[in-house]
Amino acid sequence: MATVTHELHPEQAQFLSTAFPQYVKNLGTNFPVSGLAYDAASDEAAFWKFRATSYGSGNLTLTILWYADTASTNNVVWEAQLACITPDTDTQDVETDGLATLNFVQDTHLGTTGQRVHTCAITISNLDSIAANDIVWLRIARDANSTSATDDLAGDCVLLMAVLSYSDT
């Protein structure tokens, strides 16, 4: 039994025509810090695509690494949704396929330093019938309008990267 992981980087993200986070590259003192800046006032989403190589069973875990652009307190809410298609088996039109119901996590800024890096995890239990070797689209959004839970963190939240993991058995 092993855990399969997929690293999801901001540079790989795709977007719809509206309501997407801005790709940012902040030049730090010693290295560049790239990410996706999710707005505080309106929901924004980014998408990644991967193959569910060696998927076995069970829920997926999406670990999100983020930092606050300007805040040092309060809560951010991250959401995740899947769309899975089994090639040669599923017959739906890929361009009109829907997403499964979202799962979410609320994470609290730990204070002390505004731009410290935080991590949190979403247990994705709405799996859209994922099977091994499916092609999968993953939507990661910020719930800025607090639909799923209260997101009261002021200013942008920058997603540094995300890691999706699951069991191969």
């Binding site: 902040n26 707005d39 505080a40 006032a41 309106s42 652009d69 300007t70 805040a71 040092s72 307190t73 309060n74 505004g114 731009q115 997101d151 009261d152 963190l153 002021a154 200013g155 942008d156």
Partner: protein, 85 residues
């Protein structure tokens, strides 16, 4: 003039947060609710004190300038006083 619409206040709230950042001031310690309350209060204060500001402008400027010109004058003075450009 009445206070701004909810949509206008919402846009100011969003723009204010979007414009903040490391190069400007942080929003440390405030929630989105706190900032929205500040937007509402600032708009309400302007509405409540518009007549007072108008009365403070001496003649003949008070009578000669349009409301928009007076508003623009106030923006210029506020920007200069707090160096917020």
């Amino acid at each position: 003039m009445a206070v701004l619409s909810d949509a206008d206040r919402q846009q100011i709230w969003a723009d204010f947060m979007a414009s903040a950042g490391p190069l400007l001031e942080s929003l440390f310690g405030m929630s989105k609710v706190d900032i929205r309350a500040a937007v509402n209060a600032a708009d309400q204060w302007i509405d409540d004190n518009a007549s007072s500001f108008n009365a403070a402008i001496p003649q003949p400027a008070r009578g000669a300038m349009t409301a928009k010109q007076k508003a623009r004058l106030l923006v210029w003075v506020v920007e200069r006083r707090w160096r917020i450009q």
